[in-house]
């Protein structure tokens, strides 16, 4: 089957559609392409003057033999998971939320507002901050969502522009009234002990991992077993079909963006309360794009997001020690993520097509 004659006069290479690949083969291709990406990154790092054995030590040995580093990876992974979920939820309804970082900023601003103004009793402070963070994220996605639904304004650009607006607002706060009074540095004052996510008892692992796993379970249920998940799958497959089935597409988009904004806000809260214990001016950097790439690599599957986030977190922790010990700029991590995703995206071509060489 599928042997439509394909003509390519100049190259002597023909393309042919493959029969759909089974899951195992697809998985092998995925792993191979991730390793190709890692290998290219490896070459770039070696060219930048880091020896191969040092890379092996920083990215594998030190991370998987030291409990402390392993727990750092797990802590770093939690906000990645939530950012990935935020991207995946929105993408299910074909809404590209590139504004995760802006929504993280407003989530953290809302949580920090609760923290520095000591709103509510200490015992429920974290719960208040969590809720406020989610709502802050929702607040920042509502305008792009509304513009998309009412006027069909391209959400990729509107959510991205909102990032820059949010970032400048954050700087306005941190260089203004929210500057840390005790040190004078442009970050918020440190959260009180009961405003920081509690430790779980193993190394420095804290409650953010629990939140991340819970959210994965909830979103997994939403995607796989809920009625809404079915609606999302229909919409993802074809918005025309969804319309004919009587699904109110704009309502679905609204719900999905609210959930995505909420998750992004939580992601901001996990970084500020779970990692940095305050709101800094760069806490959100990279999470937005990483979230999108993670969700893309995981094919919008929550369990996959969990796995890919662990990979990305390993890169970040390894990258941090490269930065300290070998003066490799942290942007290298970003570059590695981009290269890996590029290889995986390119591999889809080989999943779909077979190359036939005829010389």
């Amino acid at each position: 089957m599928n042997s439509y004659p394909t003509i390519n006069k100049r190259k002597g290479v023909k393309l042919e559609l493959r029969d759909p690949m089974n899951f195992v083969n697809k998985f092998i291709v995925l792993i191979l392409s991730i390793f190709t990406g890692l290998f290219i990154s490896f070459i770039i790092l070696v060219l930048s003057g880091v020896s191969g054995s040092a890379l092996w030590k920083e990215f594998v040995v030190y991370i998987f033999t030291s409990e402390k580093n392993l727990s750092s990876v797990l802590i770093q992974a939690s906000p990645f998971v939530v950012a990935g979920l935020a991207a995946a939820v929105a993408f299910k309804a074909r809404f590209w939320n590139i504004g995760i970082e802006g929504q993280m900023i407003f989530g953290a601003i809302a949580a920090t507002y609760i923290a520095i103004n000591d709103i509510g009793p200490g015992s429920v402070r974290l719960l208040l901050m969590f809720t406020a963070a989610g709502l802050g994220g929702v607040f920042w996605i509502l305008l792009p969502a509304f513009l998309k639904i009412k006027l069909d304004v391209n959400e990729i650009i509107s959510t991205l522009l909102m990032n820059y607006i949010a970032f400048n607002f954050l700087l306005h706060l941190l260089y203004g009234s929210w500057r840390d009074p005790s040190t004078g540095f442009p970050n918020s004052e440190q959260y009180d002990v009961f405003e920081i996510l509690p430790l779980l008892g193993w190394q420095s692992l804290n409650f953010s991992s629990v939140i991340a796993v819970l959210l994965v379970v909830i979103i997994f249920w939403l995607f796989v077993s809920s009625r809404f998940g079915f609606v999302l799958n229909v919409l993802h497959a074809s918005s025309d079909m969804a319309k004919y089935m009587g699904i109110r597409v704009s309502l679905v988009i609204l719900i999905v963006t609210v959930v995505s904004g909420f998750l992004s806000g939580i992601c901001g809260f996990l970084v500020s309360s779970g990692i940095e214990s305050r709101m800094t001016q760069s806490f959100f950097l990279g999470f937005g794009f990483s979230g999108i790439l993670i969700s893309f690599l995981a094919r919008d599957n929550p369990i996959g997001i969990l796995v890919v986030s662990l990979l990305f977190a390993t890169l970040v922790i390894g990258g941090q020690s490269l930065q300290v010990f070998y003066q490799i700029p942290f942007a290298m991590v970003q570059l590695m993520q981009a290269i890996i995703v590029m290889c995986v995206a390119a591999s889809e071509f080989f999943i779909r097509y077979r190359l036939i060489f005829s010389f």
């Binding site: 304004v153 391209n154 909102m162 700029p329 290298m332 889809e348």
Partner: protein
Amino acid sequence: MDFLIFWLSNVPGFATPFALGVLGMIICERSGVLNLGAEGFVLVGAMSGAGVLISVGDVPFVALLIAGLSGSLLGLLFGFLVTILRVNQVIAGLIMVFLAQGLTSLLSRNMDWVNKPFAGLSKLNTGILTEIPVIGPIIFQQDLLVYCTLLFYLVAFYFIYRTSIGLRLRAVGENPDAVDAAGGDVILIRLLAVTIGTFFLGLAGGYFTVVVSKIWVDGISGGRGWIIIALVIFARWQLSRALLGAVIFGCIEALIPRLAAIGVQLPQYFVLMMPYAITLLVMVWSNLNPKNIKAAPASLGRPFLREERH
């Protein structure tokens, strides 16, 4: 009056990078390739331009050329991904931004190009013409690239609307199957369009460092690539409206420092927000007119899948 002349004489300098970028985007997207990587190509161009000036010496035009070419080089990779490997164009565009951010940051640090000021390209001195009241400083006291940009627009206009190459370009963007049936090579045309388009995006980036800031720091384009994408929608993928949009945006960007100079007190970070907020308004305003939504090339964002056509 002095305020007005001062303001307007600054407009071309602010408008030129937008005009160049939008020109590149239109060439690219008219062929049906959705290019969300603009910010990445601009960044790469900006860094290469600065890199040439720091490492080679005072050769601004070589720097600008290299800026454009390095945009094209990354553009080739982008074109390869979206035309030959048929990667989702949104994802490929975002990868380009991410890749360029990482790459420019790493490379400029390794080459020690960060925070090094250089002479760059200065404004043209046309002697007696500059002395003409009012229009002298506005029209005759600009850098050479401002005039080149106008020339690029004329040439591009001629090519896109008056030649068979331009016809093919537009046809590929509207109906690639028809071009394929007529014997045209869709992949090649798109690849060329992406390469040429990203040249102008790189050039726009070069303008930011070589002419405007005369220094390189990480992420110097500060989201202007995204503003360029928004301007393309405003321009309805048409060159004449693109120039108009760039000039309007140049006026706004030039106004902000002028206001501060005459003593209008605005909170600093709210001023920095303005270009993005205004871009958002421009997008809303463009979409209020239903004509705009339909203006996009019909096959924009869709890969050409000859093997899957039945």
